[in-house]
């Protein structure tokens, strides 16, 4: 009543944005370059931060050119760092708005929005006896948190990167090797070509006995899932996918041509093609869309579909409107005219 129509928190945010009870935020305290196109951000999370398990990721909302964009990044710090800070390590993707901003332009002192850590790409309660980490590119990031967390007895890692200087955390990894805590195989794809999993028998003869965590591009993970399934040890393979497969406009056949999308709460109507996620369509039209990981995993963007049908951009699956039907707007595109409750 004292501050209506604002809330007392609107005023408190001016002086103490990281206090307990505030929306969860973090302050970037340092940016350390890792490779030519990757950097680690040290973030002091707000008091509401509940911690994370090694291997989990966090959604982070960053203002790029004045516009808030949300992305998910694996946490690279071990849980319970003594100074309470967390780190993410970001690799700049060509054309990536957020990743390039964080790697090249982010400045200490900047506030970012945070969600609690999430994800089930984590080590089990009981330490596995033998572990294999199979990673490529920035797929190393969730694994790094695990390596920094607890020392396991028998750990093998295969990591792929174009060239030696592209290997993120290379120095630290070699330090672990020197200490005898890790056996590491680096695959330099510029020279050696892509990792052929047929070589796995030669690189890690006992791979099928190992509890395996794999993270990298979809191609590698697809091949791994196939191989582990073929050997009947699929349950030993844990994978983390960063991005849904790229979508080609106009594919999908039935009803893939898009249509007129109505955002009924705000009364906006726009044309959408069959390849653009409804999240992007709404945001372009100025509708405040809830969003999350933008890759179909966090369900932070689910919104009721009132009418019409949408197509899942990953699977091509069509979802039709019915009471209670929620869709993930970040991986759904219009499959004909539809009405989104936003």
């Amino acid at each position: 009543m004292v501050t209506t129509p604002l809330l007392p928190s609107d005023y408190l945010d001016l002086v103490s944005p990281l206090r307990a009870g505030a929306d969860l935020r973090g302050r970037i305290e340092a940016v350390h370059p890792e490779t030519g196109d990757a950097a680690t951000l040290v973030i002091r999370p707000g008091r509401g931060w509940r911690g994370h398990a090694a291997g989990q990721y966090v959604r982070i909302g960053v203002d790029v050119d004045g516009r808030r964009l949300w992305r998910s990044y694996s946490l690279t710090s071990p849980p319970h760092r003594r100074d309470g800070r967390i780190t993410i390590t970001v690799k700049a993707i060509p054309g990536g708005k957020v990743s390039n901003h964080l790697v090249r332009r982010a400045k200490p002192g900047t506030l970012v929005q945070l969600d609690q850590a999430t994800g089930d790409f984590v080590l089990p309660q009981t330490k596995p006896a033998k572990v294999l980490y199979l990673t490529a590119g920035s797929g190393i990031t969730p694994v790094m948190s695990m390596l920094r967390d607890i020392a396991l007895d028998d750990v093998v890692m295969i990591h792929c990167a174009p060239q030696p200087q592209d290997v993120i955390f290379r120095k630290e990894l070699h330090g672990l090797v020197a200490d005898g805590r890790l056996r590491l195989t680096e695959v330099h794809t510029d020279a050696d070509g892509r990792l052929d999993l047929a070589r796995l028998d030669e690189l890690v003869p006992d791979w099928a006995e190992r509890e395996t965590w794999a993270c990298g591009p979809a191609g590698l993970l697809d091949a791994a899932e196939e191989l582990w399934s073929a050997h009947g040890v699929r349950e030993r393979l844990h994978t983390e996918r960063f991005r849904p497969g790229t979508v080609v406009a106009g594919d999908g056949g039935d009803g893939g041509g898009g249509g007129e999308v109505t955002f009924s709460t705000t009364g906006k109507t726009v044309d959408a093609d069959g390849a653009t996620p409804l999240l992007d369509v709404g945001e372009e039209a100025g509708v405040l869309m809830p969003s999350g990981c933008r890759m179909g995993i966090c369900f932070g963007c689910v919104t009721p579909l009132r009418e019409g049908a949408v197509r899942d951009l990953r699977t091509g699956e069509i979802t039709e409107a019915a009471p209670g039907v929620l869709i993930q707007t970040c991986v759904s595109a219009a499959a004909g005219p539809c009405d989104i409750e936003r």
Partner: protein, 372 residues
């Protein structure tokens, strides 16, 4: 209003060309929106909140006259900032592109007795779409005044200088009543309409909260300064109301601004819509501080052409828009605040009396925009 259509010299092609040129100005700004703009609105919001906090703090000691003066002045400015540069513009969706849920047209609530969503409907939708169309745009006189020779005179209008003055003093309540379409909805049948009742209830809730805050809680918090704080918040609201009313009057009421017949907007093209906004609005000239305190509504013409462009961009847009006015030989109505306020008020007085030659029944084709 002039009997001669000031746009008669333009061909249909020219009007469409004008529309394209305006679109280009808009696209340019949208492409350039970025970090600095976001930083601007954040800074303004933060400054407003700090000013309000400090002013209310000072008012705790308002029994001491200098404290009363400083606190009241500060609170008046804070309330003006909240309503004008911040509230009005955020509610227009000018800052939606930032995707910050805290600075978004769907979540913002302002220090005003009219709830945001109701105001957005009557203002953004009705007024900005049907700008200056008699019978469609209720902002023309807010339903209580006659502001054009073509509107039929009624003895009720004799009192309109007085209504206008009262409206100015209690402007936020006037707006709330206006957003509720109170005049129309108070008939017995309409009063019972559940939708109207829900909206009226929402206004009631908002009024209760606002009144409680300004006239009960803050005075009580001031203890021995109860009465002086009460007087201070009342004064601040009064200052804010009169100020916003004056600014708003300057937007569409000064001499030289055109009004339009209902028929003239049938089948209106984009170019014609733009032209109507250009001819139906008027600016206020002045310093940067002046533009800021009007919420950049001193750039009313630019605001009406591009209601959703960030307000901090109107000044640069105005240069280009004004050049187009010159190119197409149109009158850019502008002037300093006192002159525009005087012009608007003299119209209110003049039209409180019947005009000698009612033009309501004469053919109005010559004044119409070229309808396709």
């Amino acid at each position: 209003m002039t009997a001669i259509d000031p746009t008669a010299h333009l061909t249909a092609e020219q009007i469409e060309e004008l529309g394209r040129e305006l679109d280009a100005i808009r696209d340019e700004v949208i492409a350039a929106r970025g970090e600095e703009d976001a930083a601007y609105i954040r800074k303004v919001i933060s400054a407003q909140r700090k000013l309000e906090l400090v002013s209310r703090g000072v008012l705790l000691f308002s029994f001491f006259p200098p404290a009363w003066l400083i606190g009241t002045a500060g609170l008046s400015v804070a309330k003006i900032m909240d309503n004008m540069e911040i509230g009005h513009n955020i509610l227009h969706g000018q800052w939606d592109w930032m995707r910050d849920p805290k600075i978004h047209s769907t979540t913002w609530e302002w220090d005003h007795v009219s709830p945001s969503d109701q105001w957005k409907h009557s203002h953004n939708e009705l007024h900005h779409t049907y700008t200056n169309v008699i019978g469609k745009d209720n902002d023309l006189g807010y339903g209580i005044m006659r502001v054009d020779e073509d509107q039929r005179w009624h003895p009720f209008h004799l009192g309109q200088p007085l209504w206008n003055f009262i409206n100015a003093c209690f402007f936020e309540y006037g707006i709330a009543a206006y957003d509720l379409e109170l005049g129309k909805n108070l008939s017995k049948r309409r009063r019972r309409d559940p939708e109207f009742r829900a909206r009226a209830k929402a206004v009631g809730r908002k009024i209760r909260k606002q009144v409680l805050k300004d006239y009960v809680i803050h005075p009580l918090l001031s203890g021995p300064s109860f009465l002086t704080t009460l007087a201070a918040t009342f004064t601040a609201n009064l200052v804010r109301n009169i100020w916003t009313h004056s600014v708003i009057m300057c937007g569409h009421f000064p001499e030289g601004v055109q009004v339009f017949e209902r028929r003239s907007i049938k089948g209106e093209t984009r170019g014609q819509w733009y032209l109507r906004q250009m001819m139906g609005s008027a600016n206020i000239s002045g310093s940067r501080a002046m533009h800021f305190m009007t919420g950049n509504l001193s750039h009313q013409i630019e605001h009406h052409l591009f209601p959703d462009l960030p307000s901090n961009r109107y000044a640069e847009v105005a240069v280009k828009v004004r050049a187009l006015f010159e190119k197409y030989e149109l009158e850019y109505v502008t002037g300093p605040l006192p002159k525009q306020v005087f012009s608007a008020w003299s119209k209110v007085f003049r039209l409180s009396l019947p005009n000698r030659k009612p033009r309501a029944n004469t053919p109005d084709g010559e004044r119409e925009l070229v309808a396709a």
